[in-house]
């Protein structure tokens, strides 16, 4: 634990924003990494450096800057490939966000493999970004969406999930790590899908920076995550897809960069991964994501996981001791995220109160309105950890929660 803390103090120095004072006096306690992670200095510097010294468009032209940009952009792809252990860099598509990645899969997977009446399985705890792209298919093409139940502990009910599968089920799209419960998906779900010849997309937005990702072990067909939640820039997202599927599915958007040959009456398409990257991509952002991955690898994913586990366990225990706080889900399968409510105090009040104490937590429905309805609440507060958080910060948070309750409930 001591070793972990030492490692950790050094880490804090790498994130310049952590020295910011809130309302000029309070030390920032950033517990909103699940919404977006802060950036280490090296990522910020490299973005500047890229624009100052190497920037041009990629995969177009042969001049020096074009080469330098292209090398860095493609290098980032290799880093992502290794980061999630994909078989080939052709399986890594850069998008603008995880949301775009899911929209891409929904549209092109439908085009190739589905028709009206076919079925999709989601769960009640999906983020809106893993709901609406599929709702579009339902509303436009008449596919059927089924929802897997969530257990009390905040996990997909695996038996119920399996019971939803029929010969018409073509794909399941599920969160790898819930942004409300912090629960990791049961590995059985992937094998059930495989056994039933159902494709599976895992939404890895919350897991990519907090678990060791191995898409081959996960047995998923698609895996998506965003750059900004993995200590990289916003504006860059990743889609991993199995090469044979990405080859079979049609392109998503048309434009420059995704073509083979264009005449006035026909077009052929580029090979992977360019086929899915129409238009000028987020070049510097991809590079920034690559640097963020290097940074995480240097710290060590295992070290990050251990540290966050310790924080989560400690915070869960401390919050559980407060009889006026309700935590959603239980403590066993929980990774870096805790959603809660203080009895009779709306999450907005909690969040505003904590804010003036310098503590940033998320308040609201977390883009999970169906789950909020399932829980019978309007909103919750959520704390979420990054590698830079400390046990001391959890103590500050706990004290602030007690003060918050005293302020509103006299």
């Amino acid at each position: 634990m001591n070793k972990d803390k030492t490692l950790h103090k050094d880490i804090r120095k790498d994130f310049p924003i952590l020295s910011k004072k809130i309302l000029k006096t309070k030390d920032l306690v950033y517990f909103d990494t699940a919404a977006s992670a802060q950036k280490p200095q090296v990522v910020i510097d490299e973005l500047n450096q890229f624009y100052e010294s190497h920037y041009s468009n990629v995969s177009r032209g042969v001049h020096t800057l074009s080469v330098e940009s292209t090398l860095r952009y493609e290098d980032a792809r290799k880093k992502v490939q290794n980061f999630i252990n994909a078989k080939s860099e052709n399986e890594i598509i850069f998008t603008k966000s995880a949301t775009e990645s899911i929209n891409l899969v929904a549209q092109t997977f439908y085009d190739k493999y589905m028709s009206a009446g076919d079925e999709i399985i989601l769960s009640l705890m999906e983020h809106h970004s893993n709901l609406i792209p599929w709702y579009f298919l339902r509303d436009k093409y008449g596919v059927v969406i089924k929802f897997a139940n969530i257990t009390e502990s905040g996990e997909i009910d695996v038996n119920h999930f399996e019971s939803l599968i029929t010969p018409k089920t073509k794909i399941a799209a599920l969160t790898h790590l819930s942004n409300v419960y912090g629960s990791k998906i049961d590995e059985k779900v992937s094998s059930i899908c495989k056994r039933n010849n159902v494709a599976i997309l895992l939404d890895g937005c919350q897991s990519a920076a907090h678990l060791k990702i191995d898409v081959q072990k996960l047995e998923c067909d698609f895996f998506v995550f965003s750059g900004h939640k993995t200590y990289g820039p916003s504006g860059i997202g990743v889609l991993y897809g199995k090469e044979n599927l990405l080859n079979e599915m049609p392109p998503y958007q048309g434009g420059g960069g995704m073509i083979g040959e264009v005449t006035t009456n026909k077009v052929s398409f580029a090979e992977l991964p360019a086929k899915y990257e129409a238009g000028t991509p987020a070049i510097a952002e991809a590079h920034g994501l690559g640097i963020a991955i290097d940074y995480m690898n240097n710290i060590g994913i295992e070290n990050i996981i251990n540290h966050e586990e310790e924080l989560t366990k400690y915070a869960y225990e401390k919050i559980s001791e407060l009889d006026f706080v309700k935590i959603y889900g239980d403590g066993d399968n929980r990774n870096s995220i805790i959603s809660f409510n203080i009895e009779n105090i709306h999450s907005h009040e909690v969040s505003s109160f904590l804010d003036v104490e310098g503590i940033a937590v998320r308040a609201g429905h977390h883009c999970c309105q169906p789950l909020m309805k399932h829980l019978g609440v309007n909103s919750t507060s959520r704390l979420s950890f990054g590698m830079y958080n400390t046990i001391e910060e959890v103590d500050i948070f706990i004290n602030a929660l007690i003060k918050c309750k005293e302020f509103f409930i006299k």
Partner: protein
């Protein structure tokens, strides 16, 4: 205790947040609207009875939300009941100016006004929508 919080959560706000006035639905109404803050999920439903002389004879709200949004709705119904629509429109403008921090442009609301208690919202820009939800819903009800 932090001054900004004290300013935001004045006694009257906490009181109206906990025990909102005019909560429910008007028995007879000829105007209504639902308001929803998609960012946080807060909801408000408003019913009104406006007579032929454009007087708001009755106004009630229901819904769920934070103390700021509930208190604001409650104070709004108290303020608008019995008033002319034209007054209500002016009040809408004044109130939105108040919570956005443009105090100098107020024409009706002064320091003695109950709505003045929501002035503290200006220091919490993300909460402006909480405070104005009921008022925007009121505007929408008039459009019907």
């Amino acid at each position: 205790m932090n001054e900004l919080l004290k300013e935001l959560y004045q006694e009257i706000i906490l009181d109206h947040g906990k025990e909102p006035r005019n909560f429910g639905e008007c028995e007879i109404h000829n105007k209504s609207a639902h308001g929803h803050n998609p960012l946080c999920g807060d909801k408000v439903s408003l019913t009104l009875f406006v007579d032929d002389d454009d007087i708001i004879k009755d106004i009630k709200f229901s819904g769920e939300g934070c103390a700021i949004s509930v208190a604001s709705a409650s104070l709004m119904t108290e303020k608008l009941k019995g008033k002319k629509l034209s007054f209500a429109e002016d009040m809408f403008k004044d109130f939105t100016d108040l919570v956005k921090g443009s105090e100098e442009s107020l024409s009706i609301i002064d320091e003695d006004d109950s709505l003045y208690a929501l002035k503290g919202v200006k220091d919490f820009p993300m909460r402006v929508k909480c405070a104005t939800l009921a008022w925007h819903t009121f505007k929408n009800a008039l459009k019907e």
